[in-house]
């Protein structure tokens, strides 16, 4: 027996043990969502492979912001449009090579990788090598017990075939679609395989301070069977934000 075969047999045996222990505990085995995923029709620079589920989730509605914050949001969008039209775009967090954070990284501009391990599900977004950890079958902490970050603090559990995740503790300057949020924003996710290679993630954002009601939208991902995530390091970022918050590119005399 070759060494590789031994490893495969061990892995298969370990898998059987997990399935057996779940069966003995009266649980159905957790769906296998481990692997690489692209957002259907959205992830840039990839060619779809495999069998896509042709049905698509409904488009995202606008955020149901309270009136005081609707104007703030619309003013920001208008400023972005005007700056783009002038060829002087406003700098975003990403211009400084900061990651999208939550829930922005789940838009999967670059591919995602999901890893299921004991007690934890890990999601990696290729751009900026963003990593979030979903701690399984644990109670959520209180906001006072965690420090705010880009990805927040996520706990999850399987409800039948659906992975249910709760995330709190996202920094207020980490914004999805420029939508403002308070420190009390909570992100709920319900991930489910709607076909063997199609994963839907229904995201519901609640924020008692800024939203009138929960904001729900769904992302659909397609499995990338032969794709391994590439590394991504901001090794030479020539873009920067000038003193008026505009995106500029450093024209480097050293390169001439």
């Amino acid at each position: 027996m070759r060494a590789g075969e031994g490893g495969s047999l061990l892995a298969a045996a370990a898998g059987l043990l997990i399935v057996a222990s779940q069966a003995m505990a009266g649980q159905a085995p957790a769906p296998d969502i481990t692997g690489s995923w692209m957002r259907q029709g959205f992830t840039v620079g990839v060619r779809p492979g495999g069998q896509a589920n042709q049905s698509a989730p409904p488009p995202a509605p606008p955020p149901p912001l309270k009136p005081a914050y609707v104007k703030q949001w619309q003013d920001r969008l208008q400023a972005i449009r005007e700056a783009d039209a002038k060829g002087q775009p406003l700098a975003t967090n990403a211009v400084g090579c900061l990651p999208d954070g939550m829930p922005g990284m789940m838009t999967a501009v670059f591919p995602l990788e999901i890893l299921q391990s004991r007690g934890q599900i890990t999601i990696i977004e290729e751009a900026y090598t963003q990593v979030r950890r979903i701690l399984m079958d644990r109670p959520q902490k209180t906001p006072d017990d965690i420090e705010p970050g880009f990805f927040g603090h996520s706990v999850g559990r399987w409800e039948g075939d659906t992975l249910v995740v709760d995330t709190i503790g996202v920094k207020e300057n980490v914004r999805y679609q420029n939508v403002p949020h308070s420190k009390d924003m909570r992100i709920g996710e319900r991930m489910r395989l709607v076909a063997p290679d199609t994963l839907w993630n229904e995201i519901t954002i609640t924020d008692p301070e800024m939203l009138e009601k929960p904001w729900t939208f769904t992302f659909a991902y397609q499995r990338m069977k032969d794709y391994t995530l590439l590394e991504y390091i901001c090794e030479d970022n020539r873009e920067y934000s000038d003193d008026q918050g505009r995106q500029k590119i450093r024209v480097d005399p050293a390169q001439r």
Partner: protein, 137 residues
Amino acid sequence: MPRCTGMWAVAIVLAVSAPALAHHSFAVYDHTRTITLRGTVTKFQWTNPHGFIELDVAQNDGKVTHFTVELTSINMMQRVGWRSNMIKAGDQIQVVAAPLLSGEPVALGLEVVLADGKTMSLPVPAVGSFKRTETQE
């Protein structure tokens, strides 16, 4: 009217792909014209968040102007077939690019004819929004 349907399809694709930027807006580049740069590579930089081609371009008067050609993320390039060894210093190449609106000698690469004659496109999001005029620089 099929013609109108086609135009709407283009508009929708642009609207959807506009936010799909991992790093920055391309609004700093001229969307109304392209330039064609023929020159000698001084450096092919395989880095994120963007790759770069540094290029010496000989002008008609014999002077050499240095251009920096910004590329997309190398991850996107790799996914459509680019490799880090496709260009090296000293190569004679041709680049179709959208120039920086500010007039500085920087341009966004849209298409490259490599030293061996092979043409490679850059996977620039909403690439159809850049009007190709291909004036020689």
